[in-house]
């Protein structure tokens, strides 16, 4: 019998760290395009980044199925620390976590007109997140305009987002993660191209 390599740790103090992560996520979701840093778990197995891993620990559990593209080590880590069921189809997930090319937004659960909250959240790892330049965001949570520059998004994301925006109240919400930083795109946000 071969011994599995020891799992890297999750939250050291679950109640307080999860609370601080959640508050950062709540701020991010309430003020789309604002970038927050998450208190992150030490070292999730690659390619899972610290912020994306912290989002999983904060929000996923036995009642929230997760789809993950980060390979067996990350899967074992998520199963052990978050206790979440892992699903093979992105469409069956409450949280879809993409470290590589993400599933199309319309392949994820978007809820129904009566229950739009039964929709997936896409946790998307990107190369970098910066405030103050790039996209022009508007919508609830934004006084006039927030600017957000995102490096490393898949091609065609903006067209997918526009389609996601149009089916409101149905739709998918996105949490962008880069290193320990996060920014959120709730389904209400309108993304204008830079310029």
């Amino acid at each position: 019998m071969s011994l599995a390599p020891p799992l890297s740790p999750g939250f050291a103090a679950p109640a307080t760290e999860a609370q601080r992560c959640f508050r950062a996520l709540l701020e991010a979701m309430s003020r789309p395009g604002r970038v927050r840093s998450l208190p992150a778990p030490a070292a999730p197995p690659a390619p899972l980044g610290p912020a994306a891993a912290a989002v999983l620990l904060t929000l996923a559990d036995a009642d929230a199925p997760v789809w993950l593209d980060a390979g067996p080590a990350a899967e074992a880590w998520a199963r052990f620390h978050a206790g979440c069921p892992l699903v093979a189809e992105p469409g069956a997930a409450a949280f879809a976590l993409a470290t590589g090319a993400p599933p199309a937004l319309d392949a994820l659960e978007a809820g129904t007109e009566e229950e739009p909250h039964r929709s997936a959240t896409l946790i998307l790892q990107v190369a970098a997140l910066e405030e103050g330049a790039g996209w022009r965001l508007s919508g609830p949570g934004i006084e006039r305009e927030h600017r957000l520059a995102v490096a490393g998004l898949p091609e065609g994301f903006l067209a997918q987002w526009a389609a996601n925006r149009r089916r409101f109240p149905r739709g998918v919400d996105v949490i962008l993660c880069a290193g320990v930083r996060v920014a959120a795109l709730p389904r209400t946000v309108t993304i204008g191209e830079q310029g």
Partner: protein, 280 residues
């Protein structure tokens, strides 16, 4: 300060908090939409703020400063009881000063001091469904929200005007959030409704007994329903506060004798205190 021994931080177990946190994020993403959640029995009765308490318990951390008001006042019995609960189970700092609080849990009022970014206002909600007096069936109102079919409410308001010359709603006055969802602002006086519009703070609503929560993100349009020829005009007592002289704040009427004697006082006790301190 530290939390009470024998209980998890902020009373709720981590699984329950995660369930509520997931629901809160969806509520923020769909402003004004009521998200059902697995509300728990709390050590306080349903109807006494269990929804607000569960929301606060899921949001609050050791660095927060909590203010709790009922009827605008910090020293009403239920506000005292809820504040003590959190001081005990979360060990957080509490305050009566609106400006110092990071989380304000409220029943029936929005503070007069304008709220700012970085603050969260948590409303205790008895009946989250704005249509419940017109259609008691939840299955039916859910369909109406899906279709944004709010004709029933429009007709009710129109009939009020035809019959009384006024819209006969003075509190829990229905609002449209971000132009899409009809929402119950909780039983705040209509006087407070305009404060919800484009508020810099995040507004969260918890209904424990009805097991639903909802949210209004910062800077979101919140419009009180009205008609062009009958614009929304909330009532306020035509008087000044007997203690601070305010003519802008919402007033409580106090009966001073049995011969028609009345006096008016600010409902927001912190606001009144600030004004008296400023006047020296």
């Amino acid at each position: 300060m530290s939390a009470a021994p024998g209980y998890n931080f902020a009373y709720l177990d981590e699984n329950t908090k995660r369930m509520i946190r997931r629901a809160l994020l969806k509520a923020v993403a769909i402003p004004g939409h009521q998200v059902p959640f697995g509300s728990r029995e709390m050590p306080l009765p349903y109807g006494w703020g269990t929804g607000g308490i569960q929301v606060t318990a899921s949001v609050i951390g050791p660095d927060d400063t909590l203010k709790v008001i009922d009827q605008g006042a910090d020293d009403t019995t239920n506000a005292v009881s809820i504040r003590r609960f959190f001081a005990r189970v979360a060990g957080v700092a509490t305050t009566e000063r609106t400006a110092e609080a990071t989380i304000i849990q409220t029943r029936h009022r929005i503070p007069e001091t304008p709220l700012r970014e970085g603050q969260i206002l948590v409303y205790q909600v008895p009946m989250p469904e704005p249509l419940f007096r017109l259609e008691p069936r939840v299955a039916e109102t859910r369909r109406m929200h899906a279709l944004a079919d709010y004709g029933l409410m429009q007709v009710k308001l129109y009939e009020d005007i035809a019959r009384h010359g006024h819209i006969a709603i003075s509190y829990n006055y229905p609002v449209m959030v971000n132009g899409r969802y009809l929402m119950a602002p909780s039983p705040i006086p209509a006087f407070d409704n305009p404060k919800m519009h484009r508020m810099p703070a995040l507004q969260l609503f918890g209904a424990g007994r009805e097991k639903r929560l909802y949210a209004v993100p910062p800077y979101t349009e919140v419009r009180s329903l009205d008609f062009e020829d009958h614009p929304f005009r909330p009532p306020r007592a035509e008087a000044a506060c007997a203690l601070c002289g305010s003519r802008e704040s919402y007033l409580d009427e106090v009966v001073t004798d049995d011969r028609g004697g009345r006096m008016f006082l600010c409902s927001d006790t912190d606001w009144c205190r600030q004004r008296r301190e400023a006047a020296g």
